[in-house]
C-alpha cells in the first residue's frame, strides 16, 4: 500500500506540471484547449527519440517542452488568426499531432528501458547515504524498503515548485496581467492596447510547453513513450484542476496554482485506490475520471439550486404561518 501510494505521489508531482498547463488555458485564458491530448505525447515522443539518439536526458526533456510550445503556438494561430472556434482548433491540432507523434516515434511504442533517463541519472547521484537515511526512517515504522529512490520524488517536487513559482511570477507581470484579462474581459484589455491575439498564442504555447514537458518526464519515469498515452489527458488535467480548486481554494494566483498541483497528486492517489478495488480494471480509469469531472462540475450547481429552493420554501412557510396576505 505504501509503495503504491509513493508511486502515486511520484507520478502525481510530474502530472502536476501538465495540470498547471491545463490551468493556464482552461482557467486563466478561458480557452478549452484539447491540444493537450496530442502535445503530451509529442513531449514524450520527442524526449524518448532524443534520448535513444544519445541526447543528454536533461536536454531531451527541454526539447520536449519546446515541441509542446510549438504545437501550442499552432493551435493559438489557428484560433486567433484563422478565427476558428477554440474547441475545434484544439481538436484539429490534437488529431494532426497523432500522425506527427507516430512519425516521431516511428512505431506505436518506443521503449526506454535500456536507456539512461533523467531519473536513472538522478538515482545514481542520490543512491547511497540519503536513500539509506530515509529508508532507515521507514524501517523504524516497520515499512518496507522502496523500489525507487527518494531522489526522484524530492527533485521533482523542487522542479514542480520552481515551475509553480515562475508561473505565479509570470501571471503578475504586465504581460501576465494582460493574459489573465483575456480570460476575464477580453474587450477591456483590447481597449487597453493589448494585442489579444499574440497574448492568446503565447498563453496556449506556454500551456502546451508545460504539458509536453510533463509528457517527456512521464515517458522517462515509465520507461516508454506510447502513441496512445495522451488519450483523455485533458480530462485528467481538468480533474486535477477541479479537485484542487474545490479542496484548496483559488483566492489568489499562488493559492490556485498550489491547489492545482495538490489536485494532481490527489487525483493520482484516487486512481491508485480505485485500482485496488477488485472489480475495477485499469481500462475503467478514463470512465472514473470523466465521472469525477462531471460530478465536480455539476454538484456545486445542484447544491446551489437546492439551497435556493429551500430558502424560497422557508420564506413561503413563514409568510403563511404569519397569517398575513402576500403583498408584492
Amino acid at each position: 500500500m505504501f509503495i503504491s501510494m509513493f508511486g502515486a505521489v511520484e507520478s502525481g508531482v510530474i502530472y502536476a506540471i501538465m495540470a498547471l498547463g491545463v490551468y493556464l488555458t482552461f482557467r486563466v485564458l478561458d480557452f478549452p484547449d484539447l491540444t493537450v491530448d496530442g502535445s503530451f505525447v509529442t513531449g514524450a515522443a520527442v524526449a524518448a527519440l532524443s534520448i535513444i539518439n544519445g541526447v543528454p536526458p536533461i536536454l531531451a526533456t527541454v526539447l520536449a517542452g519546446i515541441a509542446g510550445f510549438l504545437a501550442g503556438t499552432l493551435t493559438g494561430l489557428i484560433h486567433t488568426k484563422g478565427k476558428v472556434n477554440a474547441l475545434l482548433a484544439g481538436i484539429l491540432m490534437m488529431t494532426a499531432l497523432y500522425s506527427i507523434n507516430l512519425r516521431i516515434l516511428g512505431q506505436p511504442t518506443l521503449s526506454l528501458h535500456t536507456e539512461s533517463t533523467i531519473f536513472d541519472q538522478l538515482g545514481n547521484v542520490w543512491a547511497g547515504p540519503i536513500d539509506d537515511f530515509f529508508n532507515g526512517i521507514l524501517g523504524i515504522f516497520g515499512l518496507e524498503r522502496l523500489p525507487s529512490t527518494w531522489g526522484i520524488l524530492i527533485v521533482m517536487f523542487i522542479v514542480t515548485l520552481v515551475i509553480k513559482l515562475v508561473t505565479d511570477y509570470f501571471l503578475k507581470t504586465e504581460i501576465g496581467l494582460a493574459i489573465r484579462a483575456i480570460g476575464d474581459n477580453k474587450r477591456m484589455i483590447r481597449s487597453l492596447s493589448a494585442n489579444t491575439d499574440n497574448l492568446t498564442i503565447l498563453g496556449v504555447a506556454l500551456s502546451n510547453g508545460l504539458v509536453a514537458l510533463s509528457g517527456g518526464l512521464i515517458a522517462q519515469l515509465g520507461g516508454f513513450a506510447d502513441v496512445g498515452m495522451g488519450i483523455g489527458m485533458i480530462v485528467i488535467g481538468l480533474a486535477s484542476v477541479i479537485i484542487g480548486e474545490a479542496l484548496f481554494g483559488t483566492r489568489t494566483i499562488a493559492r490556485a496554482t498550489l491547489a492545482v498541483i495538490l489536485g494532481a497528486i490527489i487525483y493520482r492517489m484516487i486512481v491508485t485506490l480505485a485500482l485496488r478495488v477488485d472489480w475495477l480494471e485499469t481500462g475503467d480509469m478514463k470512465l472514473i475520471t470523466a465521472v469525477i469531472v462531471i460530478i465536480a462540475l455539476i454538484s456545486p450547481k445542484i447544491l446551489q439550486a437546492q439551497r435556493e429552493k429551500k430558502r424560497r420554501l422557508e420564506k413561503r412557510r413563514s409568510l403563511k404561518s404569519g397569517g398575513g396576505s402576500i403583498n408584492a
Binding site: T173, E174, I175, D184, N185, S191, S193
Partner: protein
C-alpha cells in the same frame, strides 16, 4: 488633435437592409475640446465612436490623431492614443482581478508591456493617490476583486483607468446611461473634474440632452449618419433642451422621435 475627414460607412451594402451608418462625416477637434454628441437611436453615434476607436473601419475617409493617419490601425494599436469608457459598467474592468491589478493593466495602455511586476510598491502608492480622488474609499480596498464593487464604483474605476494615463483622445460612450440617477450624477461630476484637470480632448455620446448641454464646450447633433447641427462656445451655453428639439424639427421637418433624450 482629432480630425475626421469624409468618413462614410455603409452596412449591408447592396441588400435590402442597406444602411448608411455614417455619411460623409467631417469633424475637427482641437486639443482640449470637449464635444458632446446627441442624436436618436440609429443616428450613427456609436458607429462614429467605433470608427474613432478602431473597432470599425470606415469604407472611405481618414481618421487623423495628432495629424497622423490612423484609419487602418486596429483597435489595440489605436488604444495607445485613445481611451474609452463603455456604457456597460461591467465592460471596462476585469471582475476576477483586483483593483490594483486593473489599474496596473490600464497603466500599461500607452507603454510596452514587459516581464516586470504589474503592481509594485511605488505603483501601489500612485494608484492609491489616484483612487483617493474618487472619494469612494477604494484606496483602502486595493486587493479587493473588482467584481465585488457596485456598478457605480466600477464605472468610476473605469473612468479613472481610462483617464489617469492622459489619453490623446477620450471617448465616453453613454457612460452614465446604465447607472441610477445619483450614481450617474457622481460619474458626471467626476468626468467634469478629470477632463478639466487634465485638459483631455473628449468626445462624449449621450442620450441625455441636458447632460450634453451641461458638459463640454461643443455640441453636435447627429441624425441618419450625418452631423445636422453644431454649436460651440457662447452659442452652446445659451442653448436649452427646447432649442435643440426645435432645431431638430426645423432641420428635419419631423419630431425628434426618442423620448429618452428628453426624459433620460
Amino acid at each position: 488633435m482629432l480630425d475626421l475627414k469624409n468618413i462614410s460607412i455603409v452596412f449591408n451594402e447592396g441588400t435590402v437592409d442597406e444602411k448608411k451608418a455614417l455619411n460623409d462625416i467631417n469633424l475637427s477637434m482641437r486639443k482640449g475640446d470637449f464635444v458632446t454628441v446627441i442624436g436618436s437611436n440609429g443616428a450613427g453615434k456609436s458607429t462614429l465612436m467605433n470608427v474613432i476607436a478602431g473597432n470599425l473601419f470606415p469604407d472611405v475617409g481618414d481618421v487623423l490623431i495628432n495629424k497622423k493617419q490612423v484609419v487602418h490601425l486596429p483597435e489595440y494599436k489605436r488604444s495607445r492614443f485613445v481611451g474609452r469608457v463603455f456604457q456597460d459598467p461591467m465592460a471596462g474592468t476585469a471582475p476576477s482581478m483586483t483593483i490594483e491589478e486593473n489599474l496596473a493593466m490600464a497603466y500599461s495602455r500607452n507603454k510596452k508591456r514587459r516581464l516586470s511586476f504589474g503592481v509594485n510598491k511605488s505603483r501601489r502608492q500612485m494608484f492609491k493617490e489616484y483612487l483617493e480622488t474618487l472619494n469612494l474609499g477604494l484606496e483602502d480596498r486595493l486587493t479587493a476583486k473588482v467584481g465585488l464593487l457596485s456598478g457605480g464604483e466600477r464605472q468610476a474605476l473605469s473612468l479613472l483607468m481610462t483617464t489617469f494615463t492622459d489619453p490623446d483622445i477620450l471617448l465616453l460612450d453613454e457612460h452614465t446611461a446604465a447607472l441610477d440617477p445619483s450614481r450617474a450624477e457622481l460619474i458626471t461630476h467626476l468626468t467634469k473634474e478629470v477632463v478639466a484637470k487634465s485638459g483631455l480632448t473628449t468626445l462624449m455620446v449621450t442620450h441625455n440632452m441636458q447632460q450634453a448641454l451641461d458638459l463640454g464646450n461643443r455640441l453636435i447633433m447627429m441624425d441618419k449618419g450625418q452631423i445636422i447641427f453644431e454649436a460651440s462656445g457662447k452659442e452652446k451655453d445659451r442653448l436649452r433642451v427646447e432649442d435643440l428639439l426645435r432645431e431638430f424639427q426645423r432641420i428635419r421637418g419631423e419630431q425628434f422621435e426618442d423620448d429618452r433624450v428628453v426624459l433620460g
